[in-house]
Amino acid sequence: MFSKRVSPSKGIDDTHAPKPGFSRRSLLAASASAGASALGSLGSARMSFAAPVPADQDGLVRTAITINGVEHALALDPRTTILDLLRETLDLTGTKVGCDHGQCGACTVLLDGKRVNSCFVLAVAADGKSIVTVEGLAHPDGELHPMQAAFIEHDGLQCGYCTPGQILSAIGCVIEGHANSDAEIREYMSGNLCRCGAYKGIVEAVREARDETREIGIGPREASK
């Protein structure tokens, strides 16, 4: 995989790097006023800022994690889950909080290429590993991952809250080789609950994007590495 480590000294310096001047949330707000054309850039928004956490504070654990191809050097309270890190520290709010107890799948990300519930993995235990979230799937030019495109094409959602987790889980399902029939897709997507009941479209989307996902894997961004 793509788990290059950064040196701790370089990493700690990074933690003091200023945040870029936008977040996905502020971009959303801006998009609302700037009109529909701005929405096209959402899928390719790439954020590379690191945690605003002092590294010398007692009890913090130095941790290096690659997220969507970007290396982050962090000093973390051991209680921080990957989900906390993504949303609260790095402003990568595409990964959703559902039950926070490993039961719903809304927080699914790929950890070293395998789907996991990010609410159930400590960020310090991901030291040296690589994470892909929904923000890391589309090509930087905005082209969606085939699984994202298939979810839109087949209405694999209604409210959309579970969708990032569904999409990451679907990519994992295909990579693991468990998308060979509709019955197998249903069994191996059962860790992602959809309150709206869009399961029919989800199965169709996974089936349609299966072959292309087998070919390109996690995404254009990773395939080009």
């Binding site: 209680r79 799948g105 400590l122 235990a125 468990h178 197998e184 249903r186």
Partner: protein, 340 residues
């Protein structure tokens, strides 16, 4: 979640040396494998260990074969074992018990040793408020007269009716497995059927493991006929749910006559459960539907039902019967039942 110290030692020796003994409030340091039980219970404040000792740098993640002897490393993930071609072919009941458990995301991180040691899903244990002899010894049992639909009917005591939630252990139990452990006092081997202990009057004690004792692997010898083995799991929904009742079955058949039967029962007992009387009854019998149902009745002969879970007794009997009949119908290559 309460603060804790995190360590990821590089050797088993260091891991068992660094885990803290039980201190104030009865909480000791804990080992961290996949984390899907302990982080869950830490978020609920049911357990608050002062430290987590992460096992991820210890290896222990291989499945090895030596003839008919299988060795499963403690940190092999549920997904890794469920998809292992040799396990699927030689002992389908193990693979099936694993892929029918939890979700793909959980199986990608949850380990075999962690799965074997997973804690009960009793809601009164997990709510951190109710009287619970397992969580707070001597406080009583809220489940006995409470909403006990999911809880145990076999192996219960006057102090606790919490069910053992796992599936894999009930299948591993069929093959007289051994558990390999290491602690500050060195290595030892424990018979798998002696690892878990029934609640009796000390429901807080769930296994014979010492607090610094780490499971490093499981070892067992597979009979050739383990290919004819199968896991039936009955649940409220078809996937991603705990068992109401389950049956793990392996059969050595001579035509339609049973030479030897092995039966593990899940969802309904306080510990991984083997139905040895029913196994003995089946030896030499022509396996008809009525014989299978009689074996199911024998398996639940000592069961005690409570207000909401008494249905598990007839359901469990029929689950055993169905598992026996479906296993007998498998061809000797180990296919024919248990596929998706």
């Amino acid at each position: 979640m309460k603060p804790f110290r995190y360590r990821a030692p590089l050797s088993i020796g260091d891991a068992v040396k660094t885990v803290e003994p039980i201190g104030e409030g009865g909480q000791g340091g804990a080992f961290l494998a996949g984390g899907t039980t302990i982080l869950d219970l830490m978020k609920l404040s049911v357990v608050s260990p002062p430290s987590l000792t992460d096992l991820q740098k210890l290896g222990l993640d291989e499945i090895r074969w030596n003839g008919d002897v299988v060795h499963l490393g403690a940190r092999v993930t549920m997904a890794q074992a469920a998809d292992h071609p040799m396990l699927k072919e030689r002992v389908p009941v193990l693979s099936e018990a694993l892929w029918k458990a939890a979700s793909p995301q959980l199986r990608n991180v949850a380990t075999l040793a962690g799965n074997v040691l997973q804690r009960t899903r009793c809601p009164y244990f997990r709510d951190n408020i109710s009287a619970c002899n397992k969580r707070n010894p001597g406080s009583g049992c809220s489940a006995m007269d409470g909403i006990n639909r999911l809880l145990a009917v076999l192996g219960t005591s006057d102090h606790c009716i919490a069910n053992y939630a796992g599936d894999f252990a009930n299948a591993l139990l069929l093959f007289d497995a051994e558990v390999e452990t290491e602690s500050r006092r060195g290595e030892r081997t424990i018979a798998f059927d002696r690892l878990h202990v029934r609640p009796d009057d000390r429901p807080e004690r769930e296994t014979v493991l010492a607090q610094d004792e780490l499971i490093t692997g499981f070892r067992f010898t597979l009979p050739q006929w383990a290919r004819r083995s199968h896991f039936v799991k009955v649940r409220d929904r078809e996937s991603y749910a705990f068992a109401l009742t389950s049956a793990a079955v392996a059969l050595d058949m001579d035509g339609e006559t049973v030479r030897e039967a092995r039966i593990g029962i899940g969802g309904a007992a306080t510990v991984p459960w083997r139905a040895k009387e029913a196994e003995g009854f089946l030896a030499g019998k022509h396996l008809t539907e009525s014989v299978a149902l009689e074996a199911g009745r024998m398996a639940f002969a000592g069961a005690t039902g409570f207000e909401h879970n008494a249905f598990k007794i007839p359901l469990g009997q029929r689950t055993v019967a169905r598992a026996l009949l479906e296993t007998a119908a498998m061809d000797s290559a180990g296919t024919g039942a248990g596929s998706n």
